[in-house]
């Protein structure tokens, strides 16, 4: 009885709140995110953070949970998904909470912040990002007697010469043993080449492709890239979204001079670079000879909160922590992407003795956001756009006519 009475008099424990976070991390990345979540739980006693990760089929799972009326409290928003979620009012505006969260917009790379801004509103707190860059195997180039351009800017002609020289058939079997490049089949890979030729794939409003995707500048870019493949400077294209699964291994083992990718590929090479087995350089994408500079594409992700989250304010607080410098420092150890905060990114770049991180950061300027961050149904545009160069490589079709046909079909998609 005394025990019962004592129990009745003791203060009630604080109510436990469980916050569910949807993300697409896997393996080491998920372990690091768990460390971030553990840190938050330590800072907010009584709060439990459950990470619900779906490395595959993330968007399907997220949309289904929202449709079922059981959305996560916080979810990771990828730049191509911004229109799907933000235009449908599925993300809370963080603008009123920035001060309470200690979020300083001026500390974030402006291009990254813009991805999640609409007017004054901010619909996700930026997590990290990456521009598309050219990974360069300097060992391959030096064996071919080529020096990287001293200037950060280089033209398609320079790149073509370098790729040409790097492509070597050492055993004389008629098939190169070292390639200059690999064919960038997907739109997210080749759109910087169109931009770097002074063109674009859509109108400035994002409502039309005809006159842009089939314009001379864009066709020049297609011709340049398909020319590399037709002249044997790239291995045979795979014609699937995931591309050639061997490309990273080929690059790392000295079988390829240039690799077009984002920061997410860097952890694959990190051990080799640290062990001195891979002489890696990060360089800007080349530009058309008629242009002064290249423009790369940038992909970002941020933490968003659905307006009908079960624990709205706690979810906002958690999102604030997930985007905080402390969380970004923990997360940066995975090396998968560049922290969205310039100061945290600079800290890690300073610690990196290889200079690769600094090179990445130097390439952020001049990069622009993917069209997917602004245009709804962009996945359909991407699916159609791959046809332009596929039709050339597989059916020998004229690039201008296939581009015009695809642009017309993209127009139909955008009109819907």
């Amino acid at each position: 009885m005394l025990l019962l009475a004592g129990a009745a008099c003791s203060p009630a424990p604080p109510a436990a709140v469980t916050l569910r976070v949807a993300l697409w991390a896997g393996g080491n990345e998920l372990e690091i995110e768990q460390r971030v979540a553990d840190r938050y739980e330590a800072l907010r006693p009584g709060t439990r953070v459950v990470l619900e990760s779906a490395p595959n089929g993330y968007e399907e799972r997220l949309l289904t949970s929202i449709a079922a009326g059981r959305p996560p409290d916080v979810y990771l928003l990828d730049s191509p998904d911004i229109p799907t979620f933000v235009d449908r009012g599925l993300a809370v505006d963080f603008e009123p909470y920035q001060e309470a969260l200690g979020f300083r917009a001026d500390s974030v790379f402006p291009q990254v912040l813009d991805a999640f801004r609409r007017g004054r509103s901010l619909f996700a707190l930026p997590k990290d990002f990456t521009p598309m860059v050219l990974y360069t195997n300097r060992g391959v180039l030096s064996r071919a007697g080529i020096d990287l351009p001293a200037s950060a800017e280089w033209t398609w002609d320079d790149f073509r010469r370098a790729a040409d020289a790097a492509t070597i058939d050492s055993d004389g079997d008629g098939r190169p043993d070292v390639y200059g490049f690999d064919f960038p089949r997907n739109l997210y890979q080749w759109v910087p080449f169109v931009w770097s030729a002074g063109g674009d794939i859509l109108s400035p409003e994002g409502d039309a492709a005809s006159g842009f995707m089939d314009a001379p500048a864009a066709v020049d870019a297609y011709a340049f890239l398909t020319g590399l493949a037709e002249d044997g400077l790239t291995p045979g294209a795979q014609f699937v979204q995931q591309g050639d699964p061997a490309r990273e291994a080929r690059f790392a083992s000295g079988g390829q001079a240039f690799l077009l990718s984002g920061h997410w590929t860097l952890p694959v090479f990190r051990d080799l670079v640290d062990a001195g087995e891979l002489d890696l350089a990060i360089v800007r994408i080349p530009h058309h000879p008629s242009q002064g500079a290249a423009t790369s594409v940038l992909y970002a992700s941020g933490w968003a909160v659905p307006p009908n989250a079960a624990n709205l304010r706690q979810a906002i607080d958690l999102a604030g922590f997930l985007a905080s410098p402390e969380a970004q420092r923990i997360r940066a150890r995975s090396g998968l992407a560049i922290p969205s905060r310039a100061d945290v990114a600079a800290e890690f770049a300073a610690r990196d003795t290889t200079g690769v991180e600094a090179a990445f950061i130097s390439l952020v300027e001049g990069a622009r956001l993917t069209w997917g961050a602004h245009v709804r149904d962009f996945s359909r545009v991407e699916a159609l756009a791959v046809e332009i160069m596929d039709r050339r490589l597989l059916a020998g079709e004229d690039l201008a006519s296939s581009a015009a046909d695809v642009a017309r079909r993209v127009d139909e998609v955008l009109r819907r």
């Binding site: 203060p11 009630a12 604080p14 109510a15 709140v17 009584g46 089929g57 968007e59 399907e60 949309l63 289904t64 929202i66 449709a67 799907t84 235009d87 449908r88 009012g89 599925l90 505006d93 603008e95 009123p96 909470y97 001060e99 309470a100 969260l101 609409r118 007017g119 004054r120 509103s121 409003e205 994002g206 409502d207 291995p235 045979g236 294209a237 795979q238 014609f239 699937v240 979204q241 050639d244 061997a246 307006p307 079960a310 624990n311 709205l312 304010r313 706690q314 906002i316 607080d317 149904d377 996945s379 359909r380 699916a383 046809e387 596929d390 039709r391 597989l394 059916a395």
Partner: protein, 607 residues
Amino acid sequence: MTGRATLPALVAVAFTAGTAATIAVAARQLGEAQAAASRSVARMAAELWELSGGADEAARSFVDAGIAIESVPAPGSGQPANRMGPGESPSEPGAHAYRAGSLQPAVWIAVPPQPRESPLPPTATALALLGSLLMSAWALARRRAPAPPGYPTIVALTATALLGAVAATTHRWADSELEALSDRHAGHALRAVEAALDLGTDPERAARVAGLPWAASAALTRPDQLWTMPQDVGVALAAIPDPPYATPFTVAVGRTTWHAGLVTLPAQGPAAPFRALHLALLGYEETRAPTVPLAAAATAASLLTALILFLLPLSAHPPLLRRTVTAWAFLAPAALLLAIFTFGPLLFSLWISLHEWHLVDPVHPFVGLDRYRQIILDVDWWTALRNTGIFTLHVPLAMAVALGLALLTRGSRRAVRLARLALFLPSITSVVAIAVVWKWLLNDGYGPVNQLLESVGLAPVSWLTSPEVALVTLMAISVWMVVGYQMVVFQAGLAAIPRDWYDAARVDGAGAVQRFRHITLPGLRHTLFFVLVTSVIGSFQVFGLVYVMTEGGPLGATDVAVYHIYREAWEFLRFGNAAAMSWILFAVVFVATWLHFRLLEGRAVHA
């Protein structure tokens, strides 16, 4: 069993319970909508409280009746701060309000429940009472009457008609209540935005107080720039020549009604670039209409009544009645499972195919057969169907190979058993695992198959990267995958052919070919038919190989129907298209199967 007395009473009870459930379902749905509306109003009050720096009057300013504002204990005071959350208690809808910029709740704002015009649907209630009286009177009259000789059709029709009338009038009542609720809500939203603007808030922030889709008037001239408000709603609002200000009105967009309102913005100050704010509320009658639960309740009650009436003629034969009820009881679980997990999703997909449907969009406008017409004109869909048809051609080849293997691997010798095992293994291996391995084997650059070809002086083949070859490659892999299973089925069929027939044929001088043609094939006719039909249906549904190996490419050469449907749904989020394509594919498979039965089974039976 006193079925003659009990069954009519059960009919009356089922009918009365059905009408009560129908009305209760609607009333409950309406109650939930009212609670949601009240919570929304409470959130508006909370937003205004915060915007005003904690002024209670700002929170009260736009609510018709009084609201309760109660302080929340500060964190660390021994009580949890979030002791109540929005919507936790439908009887006291409310929301937390916070000091500006704070994430710790300061007060709890409770609003009175939204009023209802009438607690119950008057017409539906009267009809329900009348019907219950009628059914009870009929049940009383039947107590001493002999069992009817046939099905009491008139009673069943009367009960169904009454239940339908109750459901229809209840729906009309709920619709009108929900419309009124939406109108009141739109009014609250307009007043809340006005109050926010009076506090000097900028238009964007003021619009968010309402929590509704909104657009500034300047944006309405550029539909592509609209913010959160659906584009077609913005266009419809912009087209209204002289819209009323500060008063809710409705606007029809397609078959959907939106409750809208305009708030004038001050000419000077933070609102300067804009002239007016437009708010739009998708009416509760659109989002919370009790159509489906009402239809389900009325249908279930009608079915139950009809079933009990079906038993009535059997009450003259108690053993037969008992057996029938027992049989139904055994069938009921399976029937329920079929209804919920097979027919339910089928009907739902049909409904989706006739509507504009996105997973998270609140409104699903009816588009009817327009989508089917678009799909029929879609070249890519026809390409996918054509590829599926071509892919299906591997079925006869696989059957021929399987039959040959079945003949070759008869017997129980160790080597034969091992051969059977090896041939059967692909059938029990994951399609994904098979696809990954074959993808590596057939890679243009480093695949062992091409290396082997080159080592013997042959030219490499673009197995998966040539539009002419890729589909044939998938067909060949599919043959390899299915022959083991088909072989086992054929061997079972062969085992059923009497040995004597072969002996008699040998005595008559028949050779191997003649025995195969005149004994084996006719003896296997049912097995052949079974394998053919199931394999054709399976090949129409091919997905895994394409998904892993070619993604429908190159240039759509391997884009088969199910993969096409998958992409429409989960890559392009066009669920309506995917559902309509699924129904078209169903029709194709149905016709193909029917033709098989028509052309082959009849011949096999008469062979």
